[in-house]
Symmetry: C2
């Protein structure tokens, strides 16, 4: 029995917990319970599952004080940030409750029997159904919103898929407490134990995605972690989808008109965006293109002042701290010079100094354009906006790309930049910052590899699509159809004989 | 230069064509042209692309006589079948024209800026955009509808993705003529050469999916072919999705009530379904569960008579012929006995005898439950319907599962069977046959591995989703948004602040 340990990143001390790593027989029992729970979860129907998600949200909030304190001791993140993250986690469960009540996500479609150019076509009815038990890998940097109580869990449960969570080794106690909060809400509704479960240990994680009962996996983490999980999946006879959200440098372009118009404001916004939560956000802007002109100089001066006078920040764990320091050193070796870095007392934990690097546009190499996770941003000074398109095409694809424009900036320049960014990012941000991802219907959190490996989002209402598969019924008697596919059902919008029919009660224009 | 050759399966003779295998520089030029054509195709907009698809359909139909004659000499399929398949191919292009005019497929969503529990949320707008150039691998068994002029091509072009077709070696001249028909329609509309292209040869196919310009691949073919293409994709630094439609045994259960009520009719339907097009359909029923009772005896006798008195059938190529004969022999070795097989004159081509095999339920092993491509069906005789659930759970997942029920069959039995089949198939057919896949909005052609490797369909309106990715705009000025995301646009249904808004002109209930 391997005892699970936890480290407080504020002092770097490791201590044992009451948890043990999941062994082979534990994993087998967990996977079997997940498979056995699927019919109960699916049988709750959309409304039953919506009520369950609301109950989970309430359960998380009722344990807010304990959860936030536990997470703070395991992540070193600020209390206010963790408090807000728990609010976000609860919001995510409630949002999927709305998604379920709306019901459009099942993409119900009915084609009545009809004559076609190929003869009589049968009656066909299609909707999306749960994929089956899902493995979710918690992230280090969001102990709530992308971990056990995170969006993947909420989306999978909403879809009707039991979930097995692999706890991130950085916050096992938070993971355990989150699983308890979720599990108790499900048990109170009469749900079997297998609706959600949690496993500990790397070996258990790999065994989990190899288990035949598991039908999909979701991961927010590093490229290396995704490759390891994919390698385990590749050992299966039957492939399953891995939905991975990975690495992103999130370029941000400040055009000369914006720099001249609101340089101070942008300096403040950029500083907050790349240092918030210790820069340990997948949407942290890692590359900022700023003009080499007086407006740009003033903006960069504002950044330097803020970085130079800020304090140290505690990173999540030793591995991330080491990667940050070696990553920053590699960028400097590649030619980025230190523009600002405060002197920081070493202390006992994983404290580092936020860093502003600077390079002139011609010196931007692929080494410098690589993501460095943590509170570091590279300012790239450019002379001519016409040079930006070609350079941005060499920056790795990202979750986001941002453009700040202002008076005097040419609309065609903006359009060209946006076209270039749109080909290499999942979200284009105008006059703002990529961090602070809104959880809503129109959100997209994903982008071309290496930022993600799928054509789906991992945040927002449509992320539920990852855990669903279509099923069609041909010439089925009405009594065997799911209610959403019966002729008389009107509670969800559907496509009937090729035309959208809004749900009854929806606005009719 | 390797000359491409073609074989007439009716006499087995190989002859040279005027085509040559695509070499490395040819492939490079083709991929570059595809990438260069993407902005033109996307710039046509939904309506422009709909008109282009209509023009392609008309172009295919205007060459019907030549295309069908060419395909007949390369596939040995019946004239009527090929004629109908060309109609289906044209229909598929027209259906995607409808999908584009409807516009709901872009999943437009707008969340206006609003106060949220996490503070002020930005304005977010999301829709699906083209993924980029797509590689399509033609199938042997559908020279039109799943090949160069097939549904994957139609869906990808509709999505706005240039396509590069890998011609199937069984019908290079049909592929070439189809590409000419499509290409001429695109050129007449001013489209660049790269909107669609065709390559020949296995090496070119592998190089194609390794090319950085290619953003997805679609394949209808064997498990082996899919594994080879996936292995080539795995050599890329950036993974791309492979949408593969593979292998399927399509179990069909005839309940005692149905056998007693309409045994003759079912014998006729089953015979037609497993022998049509030489049984070379991915939806061919390969396993028929028929009761061991007088009704079942009569039904099986009807099958035997039809099979015993039918003629030989020409298979598509030598490889498929050999696999059919060795596959049938393997089933016999595994314990299935020949129930009926006509005597067939050998002839010069790839002619084989349709085969009806039979086994008692306890003798159904995994070897016997394996797909044998071609005109062969295994009848499994069962004594007690209660035994079927456990047995069906051991049959490989399929594209389809079918149930025939009739007077006296218990509704609970039907429900249990359907639940079991639904977990292991993509389409449940009631009192009918899986072949004859309707091309429509509610179709789903896909199923758990090994029938497909995705959570998407390869037939029907929603197959367009495979070639799209989400893109979100945050706080974008209206002038830079796609028209579908501007506030005042009403021509497509959208989700605005979480509520469906039907397109103007749609029925309001």
């Amino acid at each position: 029995m391997n005892v699970v340990s936890t480290v407080d990143p504020r002092d770097g001390k490791r201590r044992a917990t009451h948890l043990i790593e999941t062994d082979g027989s534990g994993l087998e029992a967990t996977a079997a319970r997940a498979a056995a729970a699927a019919p109960w979860l699916s049988g709750q129907g959309r409304i039953g599952r919506a009520q369950m998600l609301d109950a989970i949200a309430a359960s998380l909030e009722s344990r807010r004080v304990d959860l936030v304190a536990t997470a703070q001791a395991e992540t070193g993140l600020a209390h206010a940030r963790l408090d807000q993250e728990l609010t976000r986690a609860a919001l995510q469960f409630r949002m999927f409750g709305e998604v379920l009540r709306d019901g459009g996500y099942v993409e119900a479609a009915i084609d009545h029997a009809a004559d076609t150019p190929l003869g009589r076509g049968p009656d066909l009815r299609r909707m999306l159904v749960p994929l089956g038990p899902v493995a979710v890998f918690g992230a280090s940097n969001f102990p709530f919103a992308f971990s056990v109580a995170g969006g993947d869990t909420a989306a999978a449960l909403a879809a009707g898929c039991p979930t097995v969570l692999k706890a991130h080794p950085s916050h096992p106690l938070t993971s355990h407490a989150s699983a308890e909060a979720i599990g108790s809400a499900i048990r109170e509704r009469g749900g079997p134990q297998g609706v959600t479960a949690i496993v500990y240990g790397e070996q258990a994680g790999r065994a989990l995605v190899r288990h035949p009962a598991i039908r999909a996996a979701a991961l927010t983490g590093s490229l290396g972690a995704a490759r390891a999980i994919q390698a385990a999946i590749d050992e299966r006879p039957d492939p399953i989808p891995l939905y991975a959200e990975l690495s992103s440098v999130n370029p941000i372009v400040v055009l000369p008109g914006a720099a001249a118009d609101r340089g101070d404001q942008i300096a403040e916004g950029l500083f907050a965006s790349f240092t918030a939560s210790g820069g340990q956000l997948c949407t942290k802007p890692g590359l900022a293109f700023i003009p080499s002109d007086p407006g740009g100089d003033h903006l960069v001066e504002g950044l330097r002042e803020r970085v130079g006078s800020c304090g140290g920040t505690v990173l999540l764990n030793e591995r991330i701290r080491d990667a940050y320091e070696s990553g920053a050193a590699a960028l400097e070796r590649a030619g980025a010079r230190v523009s600002a870095r405060p002197r920081v007392e070493p202390g006992g934990g994983f404290t580092v100094a936020p860093t502003l690097l600077e390079v002139a546009l011609p010196g931007l190499t692929s080494e410098i354009a690589d993501e460095c996770f943590g509170p570091l941003m590279v300012v790239v000074r450019y002379g001519d906006v016409a040079d930006l398109d070609a350079v941005l095409a060499t920056v790795p694809p990202s979750l986001t790309g941002s453009v700040h424009h202002g008076p005097g900036d040419d609309a065609d320049v903006v359009r060209r930049l946006v076209d270039g960014l749109a080909a290499r990012a999942g979200r284009i941000v105008f006059d703002g910052y990529p961090t602070g991802v809104r959880v809503s219907w129109a959100q997209h959190h994903g982008g071309p590899w290496p930022s993600t490996n799928t054509v789906h989002t991992s945040v927002g209402a449509t992320s539920i699509r990852r855990f669903l598969r279509p099923l069609a019924w041909q010439d089925a008697p009405a009594w065997i159809l799911p209610e959403e596919l019966r002729d008389e059902y009107t509670a969800v919008s559907r496509r009937v004989d090729g035309r959208w029919e809004p749900a009854a009660g929806e606005p009719r224009g």
